[in-house]
């Protein structure tokens, strides 16, 4: 990855203003170490360079907490790190005045590490429900892994939602338990008649302590854990974790393994997009498309089970390769045979969906996310692409094997449910063609290589384009080769914010289809 001009200029400017610490030694690519007092100033400058905020997390090391923020600046990622010594007050200025999305990351960091972000207008707890008390910080090293939990978690009744008042205004709580088989999450509507005045999400019901569980695990156990963080993203999570560890250990997987990973990732993308498209149609009562798309997905998943041993492709990846050589010639044939028929069927269904006036009438102009708001919250994946944000990690910050291929990433400007559906259908076709191209060039060779532990503390970053969008994983390793920190950042951290905002101009009965068109991951954000 060559350093492009814009990032270079930014770094130079930071250096000229003496904002960088003298001993900037960091073991992952473009990163700067700064003093806590410069935290806001540096971010402000980074924002001037049209950077997108891509996450914030904390890592405890020896006698300090390191707060790391990630930004994407024109085809490059920049990591900004600052150290808060344990003896000093654990306090940093909040970035939420510059980047909307940083607020929830900061609240998460506060709940789990006890770092206070001053100036964050929303200082309510986020990940913490009632399972631990306000002065306990589970991700600190001195917090026991088993926790202090004594049985059942009490109900969380005291979360202060923002409330609207006025004549005819009422509050509608929805969830966390929903009627369908979906994950738990609470939505609090303030409505006047059918018009939505304000929607607030309350997540965290699926907090499983993934970050804490990961600590002390072996590398291979982490990959296993990663593929279970968010069930529909098994490959992407595992891949980004592998990538993070591989970059930390400075090893690379053999070409064949990378191709197999890409084929798995594209298969995951296709299965999920099919199912989402089906569910969007079902939410507006168009059952025909639901069953047809659902049928296609089911057949696709059965092939997954047959060739890869798991319908949702869990546990297929391994460090520096894949678990086994999944693609002997016979398997390649099976995959090939499915590509054209699926492409044809999806094309036919797309024609039917596009020509059905009743369905289009329902989906068009519903849940519009304007390009400005998408930009402001940093929307990713199909949510961003449907609102004019032309970004795809596979193309814009390519990783092997995608750098060898031409990636077509669809982009639309309407930003409504119809656009998000359309992006999905287009991505299905693109992914099918990509699988075909990958199979054509599938290199021979090993599916895994050996690797050695470096026996020093190190860390790495993995960034892949999951089916929901950019997925970033940070992995820290201690000198024994055990995991010291694992933080996967799901694209839904940003897309959930988009949902809260795109619903403003809509009515209550349109919420389910808007929600489905975003389809944020609960498990991936609650961790």
């Amino acid at each position: 990855m060559g350093t492009p001009n814009i990032l270079f200029r930014l770094l130079e400017e930071l250096n000229n203003r003496q904002l960088l610490k003298a001993d900037s030694s960091i073991d992952y690519c473009p990163a700067v170490d700064i003093e806590p007092i410069h935290w806001l100033a540096v971010t402000h400058m980074i924002q001037q360079y049209q950077a997108r905020f891509a996450g914030l997390w904390v890592k405890e090391l020896d006698n300090a907490f390191y707060v790391i923020a990630c930004f994407y600046i024109e085809k490059n990622y920049l990591f900004v790190r600052t150290a808060l010594h344990k003896k000093t007050p654990l306090r940093l200025p909040s970035l939420s005045c510059l980047y909307l999305a940083s607020s929830r990351f900061e609240r998460h960091a506060h709940d789990l590490f006890g770092i206070e972000f001053t100036g964050n207008e929303d200082s309510r707890r986020w990940t913490r429900h009632q399972a631990w008390s306000a002065n306990q910080y589970p991700l600190r090293k001195d917090f026991p892994k088993a926790g202090y939990s004594t049985g059942k978690t009490p109900t969380d009744k005291t979360y202060p939602f923002l409330q609207a008042t006025g004549e005819g205004v009422c509050e509608v709580p929805v969830g966390p338990i929903h009627a369908g088989i979906i994950e738990p999450g609470h939505f609090r509507f303030q409505i006047a008649g059918e018009d939505i005045l304000y929607l607030e999400e309350r997540l965290g019901y699926l907090h499983k302590g993934i970050e804490k569980t990961a600590e002390g695990k072996d590398i291979s156990d982490l990959i296993h854990l990663a593929s279970h963080v968010s069930g529909d993203c098994a490959v992407s999570y595992a891949w980004s974790a592998c990538m993070a560890i591989e970059s930390a250990l400075q090893i690379t997987a053999p070409d064949r393994a990378l191709f197999i990973r890409a084929i798995l990732a594209e298969r995951e993308r296709i299965a999920n997009h099919l199912w989402d498209a089906a569910a969007i149609c079902n939410d507006v009562g168009f059952a025909f498309a639901y069953y047809q798309l659902g049928r296609l997905r089911e057949l696709w998943l059965r092939t997954n089970a047959q060739l890869f041993g798991h319908r949702l492709l869990m546990n297929c990846l391994a460090i520096s390769g894949v678990q086994k050589d999944y693609l002997p010639e016979s398997a390649v044939q099976v995959i090939r045979q499915e590509l054209k028929p699926l492409e044809k069927e999806v094309g036919e269904l797309e024609r039917i969906l596009n020509s059905n006036a009743s369905l289009q009438n329902r989906l068009k102009t519903t849940g519009i996310l304007s390009s400005d708001i998408a930009q402001a919250v940093g929307a990713l994946g199909y949510v961003g692409k449907a609102s004019g944000i032309d970004f795809d990690v596979r193309r814009d910050a390519p990783y092997a094997p995608y750098h060898q291929f031409k990636i077509d990433s669809p982009v639309l400007s309407e930003g409504d449910v119809a656009a998000r559906l359309s992006i999905r259908l287009k991505e299905i076709v693109n992914s099918l063609q990509l699988i075909d191209a990958l199979l054509k060039d599938l290199p021979a060779g090993d599916y895994q290589t050996g690797w050695k532990m470096p026996h020093r503390a190190t860390s790495g970053i993995g960034i892949v384009e999951s089916w929901r969008g950019e997925l970033l994983t940070f992995v820290g390793l201690d000198s024994l080769g055990k995991i010291s920190r694992y933080f996967p950042r799901d694209p839904s951290w940003f897309n959930w914010l988009a949902l809260e905002r795109l619903i403003y101009h809509d009515i209550v009965p349109d919420f389910p289809v808007c929600n489905k068109s975003i389809n944020g991951s609960y498990s991936g954000c609650d961790l």
Binding site: D283, R362, P512
Partner: protein, 313 residues
């Protein structure tokens, strides 16, 4: 007199007993049309049996309205079922047949359902009730105008007189009748909560109309309400079949005539079920705020039918 009572009783029982079968049949057709295997046509009976055997849970702060509503709604629906022509003309059965009364009874049952939905005070119930009333304020006037158009032709508001008049004059292809028929179909879809107005199969509380009102019902209460909804669907379809589709009802009570007419009515119902399924497969659910447009259209069509009748006579 005795035989009239017996026929009346038999005909009403037939409607009540066959309503779940008819809904099951619609479901089966729908599945077939969507290339999937269907549950048995008798599935609705099993569902009802299951619900009748289940425990009935009632919210702590539910008042008598909540407990009383299911029985009232079911009774009213059965009462209406006894008044409509199925195989035999209503003049040969007992009871009332006034169309205004029928519309009023439907209104009464809806009123209690909405009250019951508000009674327990959950937000979904309130939302459902408010939506149902929005639909009702538009559907009920349209229904009245539809009935009035028919009544003006037959110079009576009695269903038996109307059906007899329509058969005698073979008015089925009269333009005024066509307008009213289209409007009546639209009203029926709204009143029975089918796609595109409401989606009876959805699990999404926020989008529901009818289902949102009965979310808190369980056990036998739910069974009665569901059954009543099935009967209501059959009532509307039967009304449509016998008012707007050709072939007169019989007046004599011979077994052969009844058998023949029964066959014809069944064919008509199956045909209508197929049309309903076709429409439901082809259409997505309307945006809530578009439902009034649909019902306004129905109202205008009825009015047009009425005007056309006045002008041509």
């Amino acid at each position: 007199m005795m035989s009239r009572i017996v026929y009346s009783f038999l005909q009403t029982s037939l409607i009540i007993a066959c309503a779940p079968l008819f809904v099951g049949f619609i479901k089966m057709l729908k599945c077939w049309l969507q290339n999937r295997s269907a549950p048995s046509v008798f599935q609705r009976y099993r569902d009802l049996r299951k619900l009748f055997h289940k425990q009935t849970i009632i919210a702590h702060h539910a008042s008598w309205i909540f407990r009383f509503a299911p029985y009232l709604i079911f009774s009213i629906t059965v009462l209406i079922a006894s008044a409509i022509p199925l195989i035999i003309s209503p003049s040969k059965t007992i009871g009332f047949t006034d169309v205004i009364l029928i519309a009023g009874l439907f209104g009464l049952s809806r009123f209690f359902l909405a009250l019951a939905a508000l009674d327990i005070g959950t937000s979904f119930g309130g939302m459902g009730a408010s939506r149902e009333m929005t639909v009702a304020t538009l559907a009920e006037p349209a229904l009245m105008i539809a009935f009035f158009s028919l009544a003006m032709m037959a110079s009576s508001t009695r269903l038996d007189v109307i059906t007899t008049y329509l058969s005698a004059h073979s008015l089925w292809f009269n333009p005024s009748m066509l307008f009213v028929a289209i409007a009546f179909a639209m009203i029926a879809v709204a009143e029975t909560g089918r796609i595109p107005v409401d989606n009876p199969a959805t699990h999404l509380e926020l989008t529901m109309i009818h289902e949102a009102m009965i979310l808190e019902y369980s056990g036998r209460h739910l069974a009665l309400i569901e059954w009543a909804a099935q009967i209501k669907l059959l009532i509307y379809i039967t009304l449509f079949a016998n008012l707007f589709l050709p072939f007169p009802l019989i007046n004599q009570l011979s077994l052969s005539a009844m058998g023949l007419n029964g066959g014809i009515v069944i064919m008509k119902l199956l045909l209508l079920a197929f049309v309903l399924v076709l429409a439901e497969t082809h259409l997505a659910k309307l945006r809530l705020f578009r439902v009034p447009l649909l019902l306004n259209m129905a109202f205008l069509l009825c009015l047009l039918g009425l005007l056309m009748h006045v002008i041509t006579n």
